[in-house]
């Protein structure tokens, strides 16, 4: 067993998990509190990436671009809430799925019209382009450490926001019993709009962080959104803690599966068969976990308190 490799792959898994958490936390807020299935959450992630990539090229600085792109993505979220989501809260989930699927097509095409089909590569400042030696001989790209740090800070901020602020109290109350919150005289419409914008900013932040690694490209949100749904189903819909633990779990399982499954399979099958079956099984792994959770604990691992 190569412990250096195991350590690096664990870091990679945590990094993927924290990115997933950023997307899933927004999704779980919107789904849990607004009871709104937003398939287009991935498109907000894509727009975050595109806006940030474009601003980076304009301003020449990635950090300023992120700081400016965050409120812009929040505004986009507000616009989507105001113009579309608001009319769908009372409709059933199928209507919401259809409408937000349409929104995906519209937003993908809009990005295509604005920035072209090519996608944008994001240049990083010098101090983020290199590697950091964690201990002797083990080096990690410094940008991946930044993703981990940003993810942890955001998670801590959300934990504080949800547990120790008045807004957080309302959010938790809304997740438990929406009707009662509005009956107590809380302006539920503003609360919902704020939650939606917060979700958009979180998804956008994830897109901004991934863009320098892959790049901002059309349809980039459509594959992460499926994994994000898996995360919130495992964690329990509406639960921030569930989203955090579920995301780390999925990130680690996916990364470690991709890296060690073929070695594991080689122990009991010929290496040719192991090489072809391992990628297939590791791609399925997270769905197998989801199916197991649904079978044993259909409400998810950490469901919010009963309604």
């Amino acid at each position: 067993m190569d412990y250096d490799l195991l350590f690096i792959q664990t870091l990679n898994g945590i990094q993927l998990g924290l990115l997933l958490f950023l997307v899933a936390s927004g999704l779980t807020l919107v789904f849990g509190i607004l009871d709104f299935v937003n398939l287009a959450h991935g498109s907000l992630y894509m727009f975050g990436a595109f806006i940030c990539a474009w601003l980076t090229l304009q301003l020449g600085n990635f950090i300023y671009a992120v700081l400016l792109a965050l409120p812009l993505t929040g505004l986009l979220g507000l616009a989507v809430e105001r113009l579309m989501a608001r009319y769908l809260y009372t409709r059933d989930h199928l209507d919401q799925v259809l409408a937000t699927f349409g929104l995906i097509l519209v937003l993908d095409t809009l990005a295509h019209l604005i920035w072209g089909p090519a996608g944008i590569a994001v240049p990083l400042p010098g101090w983020l382009r290199g590697q950091v030696e964690v201990f002797n001989g083990v080096v990690v790209p410094s940008f991946r450490l930044l993703i981990i740090a940003t993810g942890l800070v955001t998670a801590a901020f959300l934990f504080w926001l949800v547990n120790y602020t008045r807004l957080g109290m309302l959010i938790r109350a809304g997740a438990s019993n929406r009707t009662m919150v509005s009956a107590l005289g809380i302006d539920i419409q503003t609360l919902f709009a704020l939650v939606f914008a917060l979700g958009a900013m979180l998804a956008g932040l994830a897109g901004m962080l991934i863009a320098p690694i892959t790049e901002a490209s059309i349809g980039m949100g459509n594959n992460i959104i499926i994994t994000a749904f898996v995360v919130i189903i495992i964690g329990g819909i509406g639960s921030m803690k569930g989203a955090f633990i579920g995301a780390l779990l999925i990130g680690l399982i996916d990364t470690l599966g991709r890296s060690f499954l073929d070695d594991l399979f080689k122990l009991f099958m010929p290496s040719d068969a192991a090489e072809t079956s391992a990628p297939a099984v590791s791609a399925m792994l997270i769905y197998i976990i989801m199916a197991m959770v649904l079978a044993i604990r259909p409400q998810g691992l950490f469901p919010p308190k009963v309604r």
Binding site: L5, G119, I210, I213, M220, N223, S259
Partner: protein, 393 residues
């Protein structure tokens, strides 16, 4: 009076197309999703070819109808069916992706039309599924990576790590390099591909580094190329694990990599049948007018699409525009009666080009723009390994 004249003029303009005889060409490529970058470059090359022909093939007007495969085999087949049945085209060409070509080939060939691949070269169509009406202006998938294997041998590389996407061409490419590489393959990763392809390679790169291999071979076409090179750069692998690639570093990914300053790609080695610096008249005209019109270097996809248009033109002219003379057009294409941008080549028994393969490397040109140049000729007149399996009726 004036009104009548205008009406008459308008009427005559409307009826003109009905008198003119035309040759219709269906061009299937990817015009949506992230892979649309490739499709647009091919489309640009086709438009340039039409411009250079003056819109004519012999006496006939050349009409190109584009179809978008959406990066999916099933959509590619549908759009091919539409071109063949509804538009009744005379030639179908294009095809970036091997899995799209494999799904679509039967629709064209069963209708008795010519199918000309401007890129995809799956082992099947070169071998058991070869057909008299199929031609290629590119290569058979394995050939390019067989050349990579030879380059690795020449450089004395003893061990290799391989990464490629998990689909028809990915498997062919890996098989090609394994066929000729004499050293040891220490590890191999086939990653998820398609519209939701895996683009974060952190786990695979960490494995490649830990394997202790002397070199890394990858095949990542299209948008995945940029993502891969960036992460290769960020992981600081340039001096530890030199990069050898096929169809990954190209004129589409280089401008973006340069804009983001990922200089790890400079000096990386790959192989191809064509390069913008190849010294022949057709190539010079193609590269300089492409750069003048679109402001970038053409990619190999563009070069092969440009060639496909001129191959069709040579066939149409050989039969004086008689598009019912299939045998005449086939013989003309078989004889390669046009000036290809890759220089002279011939066709093998399976209608795959018998051509040279060059070792190329990434350099900055006189203006500082990142491009490629030829280092050496790896194969002269290379015949692909599946030609022997082809038994043409």
């Amino acid at each position: 009076m004036k009104k009548i004249l205008t009406a008459a003029l308008a009427a005559s303009m409307l009826t003109t197309p009905a008198w003119a005889k035309e040759v219709k060409i269906g061009f299937v490529t990817t015009l949506t999703t992230g892979a649309a970058v490739i499709g647009n470059d091919m489309k640009n090359a086709v438009e340039l070819a039409l411009e250079h022909m003056g819109g004519k093939m012999g006496d006939l007007d050349a009409v190109v109808i584009y179809g978008d495969d959406g990066f999916k085999p099933e959509t590619g087949k549908q759009v091919t069916d539409k071109l063949v049945k509804q538009d009744n085209v005379d030639f179908v060409t294009g095809y970036i992706w091997s899995h799209v070509l494999l799904a679509s080939r039967k629709s064209v060939l069963d209708a008795g039309k010519f199918l000309i691949s401007a890129n995809a070269g799956p082992s099947q169509v070169a071998g058991k599924l070869c057909n008299k009406n199929f031609f290629s202006t590119s290569w058979q998938n394995d050939s390019t990576t067989m050349a990579v294997g030879e380059v690795l041998n020449q450089k004395g590389v003893k061990s290799l790590y391989i990464m490629a996407p998990n689909y028809a061409a990915g498997k062919d490419m890996v098989a090609g390099v394994e066929r000729t590489f004499k050293g040891k393959v220490l590890g191999k990763d086939l990653t998820k591909w398609g519209a939701d392809a895996q683009l974060d390679f952190s786990a695979e790169l960490a494995k490649a580094k830990a394997s202790g291999a002397e070199a890394l071979f990858v095949f990542y076409p299209g948008a995945a190329a940029g993502a891969f090179v960036k992460q290769y750069h960020q992981a600081g692998l340039k001096d530890i694990l030199p990069l050898y690639s096929a169809f990954t570093v190209d004129a589409l990914s280089l401008p973006k990599l340069q804009a983001a300053n990922f200089e790890s790609v400079l000096g990386s080695v790959f192989t191809q049948e064509w390069d913008p610096t190849l010294d022949n008249a057709a190539n010079k005209k193609f590269v300089s007018s492409f750069k003048a019109k679109y402001g970038t270097y053409p990619s190999f996809y563009a070069a092969q699409s440009y060639d496909a248009m001129f191959l069709i033109k040579s066939a149409v002219e050989a039969v004086n525009g008689d598009l019912t003379n299939m045998d005449g057009m086939r013989d003309a294409m078989m004889a390669v009666k046009y000036d290809s941008v890759r220089g002279p080549y011939t066709y093998g028994v399976n209608h795959m080009p018998v051509e040279n393969f060059y070792e190329r490397e990434v350099v900055a040109d006189a203006d500082g723009v990142w491009t490629t140049r030829v280092v050496s000729t790896v194969y002269k007149d290379h015949v692909d390994p599946f030609a022997a399996e082809c038994h043409m009726e």
